[in-house]
């Protein structure tokens, strides 16, 4: 059937793509886990981040990887303000309202970008964009390899933040039991805003890793966000590990599925996996039952 070297390369491609998916899903699942909201604006936010990376490169000649700290900080601030100033105020805690608000924000962001940057697809050409790395016989694009390790690094940082800092403890408290957290003196609104900021900061990192190998236009967020939602469900809503593993697994499944079934049907592999998980473990791989 298929040459083992092709399967190997396909698996590696899947892992590298999956790492980016995981990073996007991480932000989404964090926001869900803490604020219990489905952030419809996640895709548009990713698009905003990618434009940020693009303009930093084109106007200020900042290499996307060098731009990481700046983008992470900028997207964090953007997310913090968005939650504090718009979402919290508009939604007043009503779940339906939050839906509509994030949806509205998503429409505003996408079309502001359309108005400002027109619909052109833009790419950046870095010296390493077309280089490949040889991994045991498979030639993998360099930006993707960097993305893989980068995403893992960011995930590790997040893990440390959540589990070993006092901020992380507060975040975990609020996500488990919001009222109780408030009673012990945690400023819940601040934690909400911080968590939303962190969720979007993940997108800032993802954008830096994505742009060298991909492109940006006002619609680019939508391409990724549906897969991200699927991963979050698969991994377990609010589960960190779930988003990480889910992203990697989906990346590999998509890649191998594409190899076997042809790329259009390749996405079917994700479908089958999804159905299987729903049938045998509906709370997701790492989720808690009844979440």
């Amino acid at each position: 059937m298929f040459d083992p070297s092709i399967i190997w390369a396909s698996v590696l491609n899947g892992l590298t793509t999956g790492a980016i998916y995981a990073l996007i899903a991480l932000g989404l699942t964090l926001i869900y886990g803490v604020l219990h909201i489905v952030n419809f604006a996640h895709g548009s936010a990713l698009m905003v981040a990618m434009y940020g990376v693009y303009f930093l490169f084109v106007k200020a000649h900042v290499d996307p990887y060098m731009a990481l700290p700046l983008m992470i900080a900028a997207m964090f601030a953007f997310g913090y303000l968005l939650q504090r100033v718009v979402i919290a105020r508009a939604a007043r805690g009503n779940e339906q309202s939050v839906l509509l608000v994030t949806l509205g924000i998503s429409i505003v962001l996408t079309n502001l970008a359309l108005f400002a940057f027109k619909s052109d697809t833009n790419t950046i050409d870095t010296p390493y964009s077309l280089q490949t790395v040889d991994i045991l016989g498979a030639a993998i694009a360099l930006p993707k390899v960097v993305a893989f390790f980068g995403a893992l690094a960011v995930a590790a940082l997040l893990l440390v933040l959540i589990n070993w800092t006092s901020l992380g403890r507060a975040i975990r408290a609020v996500s488990r039991e919001q009222r109780g957290a408030r009673v012990v003196g945690i400023d819940v609104e601040r934690i909400y805003a911080l968590s939303f900021g962190i969720g979007l900061a993940c997108l800032g990192a993802a954008a830096c890793f994505l742009l060298p190998a991909y492109y940006v236009n006002p619609q680019v967020g939508d391409d990724f966000v549906l897969i991200a939602f699927t991963i979050v469900v698969l991994g377990g809503m609010g589960s960190f590990m779930g988003a990480l593993w889910g992203g990697l697994i989906i990346g590999v499944v998509e890649s191998l599925g594409g190899l076997w079934f042809g790329d259009s049907l390749g996405q079917m592999g994700i479908f089958l996996l999804f159905v299987a998980v729903l049938a045998f473990r509906p709370q997701g791989m790492f989720g808690r039952k009844g979440a």
Partner: protein, 394 residues
């Protein structure tokens, strides 16, 4: 004036009264927002440039120099919005519509316009279903994908013969929707008869985020010729991925390739674009009107892409029909279009002749990226440079 327009739709306004209005209104309908926004915006630019040119040259002379007024519409990349815009334009009293770029949208808009006997010139929409429904109001100036594929095939065969038949195996990569699938079907059916072996056909989604897997398969199959039929973003990603993976077939050939004959792609990825051959909408390179139009478009910030010049010429066709009809009446315009012999254009179509709504002279040209420019290599009467086939090994 606006009130009169609204009233004009609700009650029967005598044709005489409409002709006395200052302008003849033409609906310019394209998806300028949504997924097809880039192409729609380019098309709209083509139409507005054409209308500006017509008005500057004195308007419609047979109507005493009446100017054309564009009624802009946004189909928002969805058929139902397109149809709704047709309704709005109809109420606004347009005499004809030019649009709507995307095949699915065109299907809906031509049908909606047919209900009012409103002439609809199709600018791009390559699905042949558009002109196969027997609608009397629909006129497509450019070629459909069947014609493009046939001509692309003939030319590929000719090129190969010329080079001594060095290319034997073919791999097809196409996008999943109407034009990609249809094109691939025709290719698969006809290639064997021309002496080519189709080793593999790969269908991919719109959008496709990553072409590394497909690139892997191309590497494994190692075809002599890669034939691609997809939209700009995917085409660009595919070719760039192939470059990164150092996959170099004897030729990269496209039929209606998304980026294969695009100045934008050439500017952004000159290396990846080299030697790529495309069978696509193209202008007559020998026509002197092209260069100044290209300059004007680029000065206004638009790449000179096929969307722009296809809609430009389609609008010119419409203006010519207005001249012949000597009236802004819809039925007369339809008659004028049906009988049109419009030849004062810079497309390689010759004199226009509509049969069942399709301009039988419409044809694509085959171009190749050579020396950082896009040159026509086939057919001989429009050739600017000799084709380089197969691609020389570096």
């Amino acid at each position: 004036m606006a009130g009169a327009a609204l009233l004009g739709s609700a009650t029967a306004v005598p044709m005489l009264a409409r002709a006395q209005a200052k302008t003849v209104k033409i609906g310019v309908l394209h998806p300028v927002t949504g997924a097809l926004a880039f192409s729609g915006t380019q098309c709209r630019a083509g139409a507005t440039l054409a209308i500006a040119d017509i008005n500057a040259a004195g308007g419609i002379k047979s109507l005493d120099g009446m100017k054309i007024e564009a009624v802009l519409g946004d189909a928002q990349s969805s058929p139902e919005t397109g149809a709704s815009e047709v309704e709005r334009m109809n109420d606004a009293g347009v005499s004809a519509i030019v649009g709507a770029y995307g095949s699915a949208i065109c299907l809906a808009t031509t049908q909606a316009a047919a209900k009012y006997n409103l002439p609809h010139v199709v600018d791009v929409g390559v699905a042949d279903a558009i002109v196969e429904r027997g609608l009397k109001n629909t006129f497509r100036f450019g070629p459909g994908y069947k014609v493009c594929t046939e001509i692309g095939l003939d030319n590929l065969h000719a090129l190969n013969q010329q080079a001594g038949g060095v290319a034997k195996t073919v791999m097809i990569v196409h996008e999943e929707s109407l034009f990609g699938t249809g094109t691939a079907q025709i290719l698969q059916a006809r290639l064997p008869a021309l002496g080519f072996e189709v080793k593999k056909v790969v269908k991919h989604a719109n959008p496709t985020r990553d072409f590394n897997n497909i690139a892997l398969r191309i590497k494994a199959v190692n075809p002599d010729i890669l034939i691609a039929a997809n939209y700009y973003n995917e085409y660009a990603l595919l070719v760039r991925t192939m470059q990164a993976q150092q996959i170099r077939p004897k030729a990269i050939y496209s039929v209606l390739g998304g980026a294969a004959s695009s100045f934008k792609f050439l500017k952004e990825f000159p290396q990846a674009a080299q030697y790529v051959i495309d069978c696509n909408h193209w202008f007559n390179p020998k026509d002197p009107r092209v260069a100044p139009l290209r300059k004007r478009a680029e000065a206004a910030g638009f790449f000179f892409t096929y969307e722009l010049f296809c809609t430009y010429t389609a609008t010119m066709l419409l203006a010519d029909s207005l001249e012949r009809a000597k009236s802004a009446d819809r039925a007369k315009i339809i008659d004028a279009l049906s009988a049109s012999t419009f030849s004062n254009h810079f497309m390689p179509y010759g004199p226009t002749k509509f049969v069942n709504g399709q301009n039988t002279g419409a044809r694509p040209l085959v171009t190749q990226v050579l020396n950082n420019d896009i040159k026509v290599v086939f057919p001989p009467e429009y050739r600017e440079a000799a084709a380089v086939f197969p691609i020389p090994r570096a």
